[in-house]
Symmetry: C2
Subunit: 77 residues, 2 copies
């Protein structure tokens, strides 16, 4: 069983890393990139004995900072 | 138009960040997580004038380090 967690900065929060990536892409010769946002992708391998609520708890308490970030959890059975 | 880029450490490369996340999850009380890998998630907003080959070039040259990382590109029209 696998779980994928995507952690992204909230829309309302400044994302300097995303802005830097956008600028770098422009300098690289691709001005059609209007915006870039950079987050984390975490892949977990699970043995299947945990509940989805437990994984959400880990996402909230450990993998993301709820003040600045949102997370999205996808569990693949 | 949006593009999502997932950059992950290659399977053959040590992922100390992933190992640290796994240990932290174990200490948090969820021993059923057998492995964790941590990568980057980059979301690009595009105006649609670029080719997919150009985005692949940006992924290869700018967003990932091909020696240590693999990337996956998903373009949503």
């Amino acid at each position: 069983m696998k779980a994928q967690v995507i952690v992204m900065p909230k829309r309302s929060v400044l994302d300097p890393q995303g802005a830097a990536v956008r600028e770098a892409i422009h300098h690289h010769g691709l001005p059609s990139v209007k915006a870039a946002r950079v987050g984390k992708f975490i892949e977990l391998e699970l043995d299947g004995t945990e509940t989805e609520a437990q994984i959400h708890e880990v996402c909230r308490d450990l993998l993301s900072n709820p003040v600045m970030e949102d997370y999205e959890l996808k569990v693949q059975k």
